[in-house]
Symmetry: D2
């Protein structure tokens, strides 16, 4: 994993800036013969697309993906797949102030210090628009998984907005696609709508926690020690814009438990080992157990807000800044499909890695 | 980052099992001319060494490191450095039960399912003994940092044990080396001693949260997007045994804040930009700001406990298991030097990467 | 180096097929602040462009490159640079036969056997059109080298066509750009023109040897042992379509020499060490000496010829095949700018790697 | 492939200097369950061992390998395998002159200029002793291949010494293990014995060409474009000490052929496609055809000779040097098992890579 590439054998390199001509993903190492077309990928991009309701940025981007290479007659050929999304709504004027002043909480200042040059239009490379390329690449990963592990399901959803967490007792998978927050708790959805509306009106923003669950993950993927499945998932999620924390299974709360509370007991079910609980998040020693793989990540609130904030200019002068552009009061909402995409990419990569090292059979039988 | 290697240009590959002849680290890409000897590395290993007090495993390992290559007359030559630690206390009989039964919460079952073979002695490759190799490699990284960034300080400490967190108001850097828990809060240390003693006597274990802070980190290290400094730190910490959550700066709590609360305002100080706060943990857009880099990670409680737990055998039969070996009631204690080592390795790697791409000067001046 | 990517810190991933919508290169790790625009890159592409004279394929492709990302106001920003070349002349009908029959000497049969699917239009991914992406990426590398090592010159030329080698005594740098074969020997050029014309008329093809020399290479780039400068150059050149042999300095002929003949003696000149000869091709122990770096590679004759050849169909039936498309009688001609591009990429990558590990100063002074 | 590591998923990192305490290889990514012990590896090391006859260095090293990790009860576990060879015959005094004077044709001067420090004892890291680690790692690769592709045979042999090439008409596989040069031509062996004896007595050395053939290579391994099987073999062989040229199949001579001569015609045999010839060296488009994979590489003559050569000292003063140590008149002899080891490692790596991307079945059927 390095620079703008992630993955070991299924490798994704994203490129492009918020307001350049286009952005995209170069996907290498995909298995051949996977049915894929632009429409299939587009459905995932549409989930992330801005401007769908009043809770996401009003930038109007169709985010239409084109496949430039790597497929023939609707199937992948095993060669690199180039996915391109043209930028159409590039109102650069909105961002004029940023060229001279550094927005607190943004990459403006560090990009400038590191590179001595940066593309200030819409945040350039540091813009959350980069995540569209991840979602497109995730579409390829999902299509490949459908062939190799057809039972595998990846589902993301929001479990907390600001201080307001969902009630796990009300968790309903069917709710997730029924509300603008992709939350499994219908009551939370209503509560958050009112809460976010008032934040939006006051030009404020708020953070969120996203959880992504993968069901029916094959047993035995992952690898000790620096490519533990947990490690690669942590890296994948932490690489998303604005993410500052990642948890697997019990996560940070594992610190609060005793050994008795934390260990998932094992029994023998009709199809092999079953577990009394899933504190481990489906991963033991870096390797999948066959339970649900569960990851959570925290998205910080966007710093692009209407409240004036103290900052400095390139010349070092004190200044105030208000960010007027079209922004999301809760960027966490659009992070849901992004987290799903990263999960799909990591799981596919590890399934391929596993069959590289151990072949296609499960080696250690139980029972 | 792949399999048993981490790092981009400063690359560490660890090898070895708990009860094999030896374990160690192959360190590649270290700058030449760095003064280093076994004694310097040993001081860090001694910090991690078991059996130092009643709160850590009674396994008696001198953990004496030998440098087998890569140095000449007390300095690194730029070629691979091989660090070897021989295992001396290999009481394999203690672990007999594990060969047939799977310990809940351990890698026993997944290693078996994935590989069809595993070294059951002391957990084999999944043992926390692997972290000795990290600490040794971290000693090399620290020595190199002393030349390249002599002001840089890396310090780890425990901030929570089970449900008991430190009081941040009592944070005292000088306390850290004064107590067996490397905690900056003297009162917490006393409290934890009593708490852990009672857990230990009842054969129980507990989790912990470790924080690692790096001071005087050069501005401008890190890289968008999949090698964000946050990403590589998250991967580094999550790759440690038993870690299930990682946070940068505000971490998971960033989700609870508004944009106004979270963004660190910028002013201009005598030596460049200064910040009103450090919610970002010293990293914006994946690149260091020059503020303290702050990482936290949660270590789950070891599942090697005296309470009988339900499990199964290889044959699929229901069984009970008690893990009698010599174990730590709170493995988080010995994770402190490990977290420090990972921080040192990641920072050195990114300093080298930064000078690869941008050279040695800071490119974007302010003021 | 893996799959469709080469390079360590300056990394190039190419993508695209002969007759898809576009092809290109994703260039990651380029230093920031490098002046670059499409015109600068285009000059190198024009050197490789088909249809320039009767000795190269009559396919008419403008090969116009677009920069989709990674630059701002005419300079690189340090983020990934996407270079796209749209395919305009896609006469797929020319290639109909190939879908069912395998061309001897082509990748048709192995792609089919490996992937079970392939893009037969113009050879798909195995087409020499892929090298346009290398040339474009090489344009970026050259621009970066102009800043970091402004004295460095990369120059490729043809030294043998079929059995006819140049006369080294007539080597004239100024001749290279004066003839369609980029050869430094004017007499050879005339001879080859007649020879190739007769081959072309009979529908035959022939191989060639290309030499690429880099002058004023900084001392001390390269790295033992698996990233020796020789190693990475060998990999870079061998990765080009149709290349089957690579030599550094004396190359295969080094086998014929005695130790006395082969070793380049050392003296001390006004600017440091000078050498009595350059059998080593400017590289000792994998590291540059400061002498010219000299690489040669052999390009096999294209198998797309008018002579009927025996082959089989997918069904396993015996068949004959004539390849009627628009092809080069000597593909080696157009390999000259490709070899230059690979040299530029490898040297830049190693200059960056060297400053990562050792910083910007030369460490070991002599005299 | 980077620095001191090669391979994609089967990855070998070598470490160690000629006269340090030990040298070895860290082998990561090996499949689990492969039967292996030190004796099996030792047989390959014994082939390379110095002092076996008057044609190789008289340094007496047992080159005894120890397995420090990665196996359990005689089988690989899938975790990193550490192979260590202790240096026992470290007569450092032999090399005293080298610390101040640079040997022409050696890495002495470039290591010094790059690193500002080097281990002058026996050439340090640049010594051919490093190749012992490759041979050990190759022993692991061979053992794994025996399980995965049991028909596959890797065989190296010398085809040219100085200007004296073998007579291909006299090629006899059974001769290879019958003479000190591992040559398939018995007459050449006798001729070379006399020739080399006279060179040895006059303190002279000579180069050689080694060929390595792999039979029964599975169809479909290798990958376009930067991980072509040719590319990785070229890199692997060129990374060996003193190698300056690499050829696949027809190699440099491909330049001399016409398209009609070079293309291997295809017919349909009882087990699938068969070819009329093997100019391609078993690789088309970077992917194996199932024919013999044939690689040749040239080893330059060692520059450690008794003839006085002109050089300079660190101070820049003119000097003469004679290298008195124990050296091989033809280092190419001992390169034979090294070339075999590299071939085995590359083939295993690509077999694993292939099953990662395409699974275990052959995808494109013919006939």
């Amino acid at each position: 994993m390095s620079f703008n590439t992630f993955g070991h054998v299924f490798r994704v390199t994203t490129w492009g800036e918020s307001h350049g001509p286009a952005l995209g993903a170069t996907v290498d190492g995909c298995p051949p013969g996977v049915p894929i077309d632009a429409e299939t990928i587009q459905q995932w991009l549409d989930k992330r697309k801005p401007g769908q309701n009043k809770f996401t940025t009003q930038r109007r981007e169709p985010d239409a993906v084109k496949i430039l290479s790597g497929t023939f007659e609707g199937k992948t050929t095993g060669t690199p797949i180039q996915l391109m999304i043209e930028n159409t709504d590039q109102r650069s004027k909105d961002y004029g102030d940023i060229a001279e002043k550094f927005r607190p909480g943004h990459a403006d200042i560090t990009y400038w210090q590191k590179y001595g040059i940066r593309d200030p239009r819409g945040g350039g490379r540091s813009s959350a628009r980069e995540t569209a390329a991840r979602v497109a690449a995730g579409g390829i990963a999902r299509a490949a998984l459908e062939q190799i592990a057809p039972e595998l399901i990846v589902k993301g959803y929001m479990v907390q907005m600001g201080p307001r967490a969902i009630d796990r007792a009300k968790f309903d998978w069917d709710q997730i696609d029924q509300n603008p927050f992709w939350t499994p708790d219908a009551a939370a959805s209503e509560d958050w709508a009112a809460y976010l509306d008032s934040l939006r009106k006051s030009g404020e923003s708020v953070g969120a926690i996203i959880e992504v669950t993968a069901q029916n993950v094959p047993v035995g993927i992952g690898a000790p020690i620096y490519a533990k499945l947990d490690t690669d998932l942590a890296a994948a999620m932490m690489s998303i814009n604005a993410v500052k924390g990642v948890e697997i299974g019990e996560g940070m709360s594992a610190a609060m438990l005793t050994g008795t509370e934390n260990a998932d007991e094992i029994a023998f079910g009709p199809d092999g080992p079953i577990y009394s609980s899933n504190h481990a998040g489906g991963i033991l020693g870096g390797i999948s157990t066959g339970q649900d793989v569960v990851v959570r990540f925290a998205v910080k609130p966007t710093s692009s807000i209407l409240t004036p904030r103290k900052t400095i200019t390139k010349a070092g002068d004190a200044a105030e800044i208000i960010t007027k552009g079209r922004h999301d009061p809760c960027v966490g909402i659009r992070a849901v499909p992004v987290g799903e995409a990263m999960m799909a990419c990591v799981l596919l990569d590890h399934i391929l890695l596993d069959r590289a090292q151990t072949g296609e059979a499960v080696l250690g039988k139980i029972g």
